[in-house]
């Protein structure tokens, strides 16, 4: 009996060590990547980096136009994706008794798992064939990636709003749709913001759909029906270039992009603190 207990105790300790080591194993590549990007990217950071546009061979330059282009593309994607996502989330949460809600929620979850390159091809076939390589095509594809994320988080955060609030409002004679827009939405605002930030962080790093819907652009933003410079894509194109200044720019962009995404992730975390069940 005693021996059996000892063995179980040893097993328990062993497993505890194994479990903690699985965490440590997962952390090693993370820190290696962050270190790598910081070391290589830090070299690129100077005032020119933020003010100048993409340089040519041997010239000074920076990522100013890439930041501009990325912001505009992400902005347009958000304008398309966020309203659709929020309204879908509202529908799933407030009208969950509808026969449509099951299939919609299901398809939504499934959509969130799609390969981004396929979404890119979809954007190509639908939009590039009509308008050409453009910010619109890229924003469209990115919006499709955004929608499921925003929908899900909106639905979940609205569900958190106590039923009592809705009932109280209805009892006061406020119409249902006004209840939803002015009262329930307000209560779930934090969660919705989280969802939008999450989706933004996700698409900021996507280069595959951008590659097939927009392509490389070296200038400042020149119109929605033309391409714009993009951080994630430029990293992919410049990182193994033979030209020193482009390579440095690529690593600097990677550093900037990661910091941006990390910043958003931290913001999300701060906002959702105290929210777990």
């Amino acid at each position: 009996m005693m021996d059996n207990y000892r063995i179980r105790k040893i097993k328990d300790r062993l497993m505890r060590i194994l479990l903690w080591s699985s965490l440590i194993i997962a952390m090693i590549p993370l820190f290696s990547i962050l270190l790598d990007v910081f070391i290589n990217g830090a070299r690129a950071i100077n005032i020119d980096f933020f003010l100048l546009p993409t340089p040519t061979v041997g010239e000074k330059g920076g990522i100013a136009n890439a930041i501009q282009g990325t912001l505009i593309t992400l902005g347009l994607a958000s304008i398309i994706g966020v309203p659709i996502g929020i309204m879908s989330g509202i529908f799933l949460s407030e009208y969950h008794d509808s026969k449509l809600s099951q299939p919609v929620r299901f398809i939504n979850d499934v959509l969130s798992g799609f390969p981004s390159i396929v979404v890119g091809i979809f954007g190509y076939v639908l939009i590039v064939s009509v308008i050409g390589f453009s910010v619109i095509a890229a924003a469209f594809s990115l919006a499709i990636i955004m929608i499921p994320i925003v929908t899900r988080t909106t639905e979940e955060s609205l569900r958190m709003v106590p039923v009592a609030i809705r009932e109280a409002a209805l009892a006061l004679g406020i119409r249902r749709w006004k209840t939803i827009i002015f009262i329930v939405l307000k209560g779930g605002r934090k969660g919705i913001v989280t969802g939008v930030l999450l989706a933004l962080a996700r698409i900021a790093g996507e280069s595959a759909p951008v590659l097939v819907t927009m392509g490389y652009w070296r200038w400042w933003f020149s119109g929605l029906n033309r391409p714009a410079s993009n951080l994630a894509l430029n990293i992919y194109l410049f990182a193994i270039s033979p030209f020193e200044n482009w390579r440095t720019l690529a690593w600097g962009s990677a550093l900037f992009l990661i910091l941006m995404i990390l910043g958003i992730s931290i913001l999300i975390r701060v906002l959702t603190r105290g929210k777990y069940e």
Partner: protein
């Protein structure tokens, strides 16, 4: 209290959005020009990409409202986009084959630079200077020679300690004019290569890893010991990768570089067809390989061509102003643009080629109207 916090968050978000929006609008305003701003899209070879990018930047300094955007997607992609009329001009190291020309009728070829393909390799401990011959290269890329210390390589390099290691072959995975140039050379020097694999922007490589673009190949070679590949020369030079010496028809071992490319162009004495005729058989390589007098010539040398339609109204959204700007740009590249070639190790066009191109560019019309007098 919770409401206050939410309000603060909302306020921050709104302020941030407005600030970003203002910045974007400001940028847009200060960068849009008073003259009519036009964009000219081009695509194609990665071989001359550094030169074209330099030209685009320099030309924009001269004409601030002309923005040219060039996608370096490989000669194959350039030819396709030209055929589909999704670009206003294309660049390719491979001239159009007869069937490609049939799909893109009335294409003009304008050679705009001359460059060479370097054979790069990564042998730890050995720097530049490994000697190759055409047959040996063909055998390596066919897989018939698989080790670095193969007798045929040792024979060419008696003073080098070649290791007993497998040769890792690296080639292009995308449709590439550089591949076209390299396989044209291999077809000239090896009957077996010509019969079984042939030349093209894409071929069925018997073995090896695929890298995307010249950058991909140079990247793979520099990261993999005991590998060998082929790239446009500047990619070897800038990446500090070792390149080989190649045996030419005179029996001399020549390294790639400005002088040896120039010598090749001169030695080949290629007669050029008219701008609107077929250029499928134009080959500096053939001229060099068959010229035993060309002592300083580097065999794997080639033209890069602009492909442009003779009548520009076939392009969607084209108008006379834009067409004129395109023609002006092309004119500039073959004249002033050539001054930028040498620093990037591209060969400036010989004057007879420039004169030939002037005639070709004068053929370009919009709605029948000649654009360059």
């Amino acid at each position: 209290m919770g409401l206050n916090r939410n309000r603060k968050i909302l306020l921050v978000a709104v302020v941030a959005t407005i600030t970003i929006a203002l910045v974007i609008v400001y940028q847009y305003l200060i960068h849009s020009e008073s003259e009519r701003e036009i964009t000219i899209n081009g695509a194609g070879a990665s071989f001359p990409f550094p030169l074209i990018d330099k030209w685009i930047a320099e030309y924009n300094k001269l004409k601030k409202n002309v923005k040219i955007n060039y996608q370096s997607i490989g000669s194959g992609g350039g030819i396709r986009q030209h055929t589909e009329k999704t670009v206003y001009f294309a660049a390719s190291d491979a001239p159009l084959t007869p069937s490609q020309a049939a799909n893109a009728s009335n294409t003009l070829h304008i050679p705009f630079t001359i460059g060479g393909v370097a054979i790069i390799y990564n042998l730890p401990g050995v720097s530049k200077g490994i000697k190759f011959s055409g047959e040996v290269l063909a055998d390596i890329f066919m897989g018939k020679i698989s080790k670095w210390n193969d007798p045929k390589l040792v024979e060419l390099n008696p003073n080098v300690d070649l290791p007993d290691k497998d040769i890792i072959v690296v080639h292009r995975s995308d449709g590439s004019g550089t591949t076209f140039v390299f396989t044209s050379y291999l077809s000239e020097v090896s009957e077996e290569w010509k019969a079984n694999i042939g030349r093209g922007t894409v071929v069925n490589w018997p073995k090896g890893l695929g890298g995307k673009g010249n950058e991909g190949v140079s990247g793979l070679v520099s990261q993999n010991p005991y590998s060998i590949g082929y790239v446009e020369f500047i990619y070897a030079k800038k990446n500090n990768i070792a390149w080989g010496y190649l045996k030419n028809a005179a029996g001399r071992f020549v390294q790639p570089g400005l002088e040896s490319f120039k010598a090749a162009a001169a030695a080949a004495a290629v007669t050029l067809p008219k701008g609107d005729e077929s250029w499928a058989e134009v080959s500096i390589i053939r001229g060099v390989v068959r010229n035993p007098q060309a002592a300083d010539a580097y065999p794997i040398t080639s033209f890069s061509y602009f492909l442009v339609y003779r009548e520009l109204n076939v392009l969607p959204n084209m108008d006379e102003y834009t067409a004129r700007q395109l023609v002006e740009f092309l004119w500039w590249t073959i004249h002033d643009g050539q001054n930028y070639s040498a620093e990037l190790d591209y060969v400036p066009l010989p004057s007879n080629v420039v004169a030939h191109n002037e005639e070709t560019i004068r053929m370009i019309t919009f709605n029948g109207k000649q654009l360059k007098g």
